[in-house]
C-alpha cells in the first residue's frame, strides 16, 4: 500500500483536491482509502462518503490533532492494509502551524491556497517546509501574477518540493496530482519510522520530543480511535 500524509491550513482545499485526485485514480482501477484527523467535528466524513470514498474519521478532542495522529497512524495503516487499499491518504486537521504529520519515507503533501496571501508560505511551519509535494489551490480566483508570486514564495521556503497547481472545483490538475500520489513509496507499517519534525510540547510522550512511532513509545495521554 502507498501511504500519503496530507496537511495544510483549514479550508485550503485538502479534501477538494484529494477527491479530484481519487476520482482520477479510480478510473485507473486504483482503490483509495482516506483517514481524516480533526479536533472536534468535521464535515469531511460526509464529503468523502458522498463521493463513494472509504473514510474513517478520528477526533482528537482536547489533544493536538497532530499528536493524536501519531498515536493512531499505525492503526490507520493497519486499517488500510486490511481494507485492501492500493493507496491510503491521511488528511490532517491543519490546525496547528507548528506541527506536521509528515513522516520520513512517507510521501508528504502540503495543500495551501492562493487566497491565503503571499506572506502565508513564510508563516506555515514544517508542514510546508518539509513537504515533498506542495499543491496550490484556488488559482482560479486570483490573477496570473498573484499565482506566480505565490508559487515563488513557496519555492523560497521549500526549494526542493514539487509544486503543482490544482483547482479543487474544476479538478484541473487533479489527474496530475493522482499520478504523483502513485509515486509514493510502498509502506506496510510505520513502526520505528521518524517524524520529519518533532512535535512541540503538550501531554504525551511525543510532547516530550519522542519521534519514534510504535506502542512502546506511546506514553502519557494516549487516546485510541475506533476503526470499523
Amino acid at each position: 500500500m502507498r501511504v500519503i500524509t496530507l496537511a495544510g491550513p483549514p479550508s485550503s482545499g485538502k479534501s477538494a483536491v484529494t477527491i479530484k485526485a481519487i476520482a482520477s485514480l479510480k478510473q485507473k482501477g486504483v482503490s483509495v482509502g482516506v483517514v481524516k484527523f480533526d479536533s472536534l467535528s468535521t464535515q469531511d466524513q460526509l464529503l468523502y462518503e458522498k463521493q463513494g470514498v472509504a473514510v474513517t474519521t478520528g477526533l482528537s478532542g482536547n489533544l493536538c490533532p497532530d499528536h493524536f495522529f501519531v498515536s493512531n497512524v499505525e492503526e490507520s495503516l493497519a486499517w488500510g492494509v486490511a481494507s485492501g487499499f492500493d493507496l491510503l491518504v491521511i488528511e490532517s486537521a491543519g490546525l496547528c502551524n507548528r506541527c506536521a504529520p509528515h513522516i520520513q519515507g512517507v510521501l508528504a503533501v502540503c495543500v495551501i491556497d492562493n487566497l491565503s496571501g503571499v506572506n502565508t508560505p513564510k508563516k506555515i511551519g514544517p508542514m510546508l517546509k518539509m513537504a515533498d509535494i506542495v499543491v496550490i489551490t484556488k488559482g482560479d480566483i486570483v490573477s496570473q501574477a498573484e499565482r506566480e508570486v505565490f508559487a515563488h514564495r513557496v519555492r523560497q521556503v521549500n526549494g526542493s518540493a514539487t509544486i503543482l497547481n490544482v483547482n479543487g472545483l474544476t479538478g484541473q490538475g487533479g489527474d496530475e496530482l493522482g499520478r504523483l500520489l502513485q509515486g509514493a513509496p510502498e509502506t506496510i507499517s510505520v513502526e520505528g519510522k521518524l517524524l520529519r519534525f518533532s512535535l512541540p510540547a503538550a501531554l504525551c510522550s511525543y510532547c516530550l520530543g519522542q519521534r519514534k512511532i510504535g506502542a512502546d513509545f506511546q506514553m502519557g495521554n494516549v487516546k485510541k480511535m475506533a476503526f470499523s
Binding site: N97, I141, Q144, V157, D175, P200
Partner: protein
C-alpha cells in the same frame, strides 16, 4: 556551485548571488553579519530561536543550498524558454473516437478554440499546460520543437512554458498597482524593476478604457482595468512563451489590441472564446465536439472582411455605451 559557498563570508557570497540574503528574513531569521559564513551562522543559532521558528539546524543547510540553486536556475530560465514551435498530436474524444490531427503552432500565432460548453476547450488548454504525453484523459501529446519536452519542465514552476490568464481576475492583495507589479517583477528577478513596472502600467492604461494611476489600490480596479493590467503584465513580465486564455471577459478593454500585445511579444496565444471578434482574430480555429477536435478551420479572406464589419458594429455599440454612461440621449 559546490558546497564551499557555505564557508564564504556572507558579504562575499552576496557579490556572487545578490539575492541570497533574502533567504534569512523569509524564514524569520535575522541577517547574519557580512563577515560571518552561513555555515558558522547556522551552527551558532540558538536552540530556542530554531524552536520558535520551527526550524532544524541540519535542514537549514540543505534549504539554503536549495535556495541558491533556485536563484541560479531562475537566472538561466529567462533565456532558456525560447521555442520554435509546439505541436499537439491528437488523442481521442470522450467516446474514445480517435482524433486525427497534428497541429503545429509558432510564436506570434493566435489559435482560437470554439465549441459549446462542455465540449472540451478547457481540457485542451489543460493538456497544453500539463505538457501532456498521452497521459491525460484525452490521450493527446505535446511536442516542443518537434520533440517530447524535458519531463522536468512539468514541475519547473519558475520556467513554466505556459502562462494562463485567469477567467476571474480578482485581486486579493492589499497593494497599489505599482507595489503589486513591483512585487511580481521581483519574483521574476528582472533587472530594471522600476522601468518594467512603469511600462506595464502605461500599456495597461492604453488597453483599458478608463485610466488609473500607479497609486490605485488593485482591489479598486474595475473589471476592465484589472484585465488590462494582467494582459500587460503577462506580456511584459511572464517569461512563458505560451499564453492560454480561457473565455476571458472582454468588457472595458480594447480586446483586439490586448491580444495583439501578447502576439507582438512573440508569444503563442491559444484562446477559448465565444466572442466572434476574438475567434476570427485567430489564424486558425479549433472546433470542439464531445471532447475532441471535430475540425480545424483556417480563417478565410471573407471571414476577415466580416471581422472588419463586426469591429465597426462593436465600435458603434461601444460609443452608445459611453454616451449612456455620460448621461446623453440615445436618439
Amino acid at each position: 556551485m559546490n558546497e564551499s559557498f557555505l564557508e564564504l563570508p556572507l558579504a562575499v557570497l552576496l557579490v556572487q548571488s545578490p539575492l541570497a540574503g533574502e533567504f534569512f528574513p523569509t524564514l524569520g531569521l535575522p541577517l547574519p553579519p557580512g563577515t560571518m559564513s552561513p555555515a558558522a551562522y547556522f551552527a551558532a543559532l540558538d536552540n530556542g530561536v530554531l524552536e520558535d521558528l520551527a526550524l532544524e539546524r541540519d535542514s537549514l543547510v540543505e534549504q539554503f543550498t536549495d535556495y541558491l540553486l533556485l536563484l541560479s536556475t531562475l537566472g538561466k530560465g529567462r533565456t532558456a524558454s525560447r521555442l520554435e514551435s509546439i505541436t499537439i498530436l491528437g488523442g481521442h474524444d470522450k467516446s474514445g473516437r480517435r482524433e486525427d490531427f497534428s497541429l503545429t503552432v509558432r510564436p506570434g500565432e493566435i489559435i482560437s478554440l470554439v465549441g459549446p460548453t462542455g465540449s472540451g476547450k478547457s481540457r485542451f488548454l489543460a493538456d497544453i499546460e500539463w505538457l501532456a504525453q498521452g497521459d491525460s484523459p484525452t490521450g493527446r501529446s505535446l511536442l516542443i520543437d518537434g520533440a517530447p519536452p524535458d519531463p522536468g519542465l512539468r514541475y519547473a514552476i519558475d520556467r513554466k512554458l505556459v502562462a494562463q490568464l485567469s477567467q476571474n481576475m480578482n485581486f486579493v492583495m492589499d497593494l497599489s498597482v505599482e507595489e503589486f507589479i513591483t512585487m511580481h517583477a521581483e519574483s521574476r528577478m528582472v533587472e530594471d524593476i522600476p522601468g518594467v513596472t512603469r511600462s506595464i502600467i502605461s500599456l495597461a492604461n492604453e488597453l483599458a478604457g478608463e485610466r488609473f494611476s500607479p497609486d490605485t489600490p488593485v482591489t479598486s480596479l474595475s473589471g476592465g482595468q484589472s484585465r488590462a493590467l494582467m494582459i500587460a503584465d503577462t506580456s511584459c513580465l511572464s517569461n512563458s512563451p505560451i499564453v492560454l486564455i480561457d473565455e476571458i471577459e472582454n468588457a472595458g478593454i480594447d480586446r483586439k489590441r490586448a491580444v495583439r500585445t501578447l502576439v507582438d511579444k512573440q508569444k503563442i496565444v491559444l484562446m477559448a472564446t465565444h466572442d466572434p471578434i476574438l475567434a476570427l482574430m485567430g489564424e486558425r480555429r479549433l472546433v470542439f465536439k464531445n471532447g475532441g477536435i471535430a475540425a480545424i478551420i483556417t480563417t478565410s479572406d471573407a471571414e476577415r472582411a466580416n471581422l472588419k464589419l463586426f469591429e465597426e458594429m462593436d465600435a458603434k455599440l461601444g460609443a452608445v455605451r459611453n454616451a449612456l454612461r455620460n448621461g446623453e440621449r440615445i436618439e
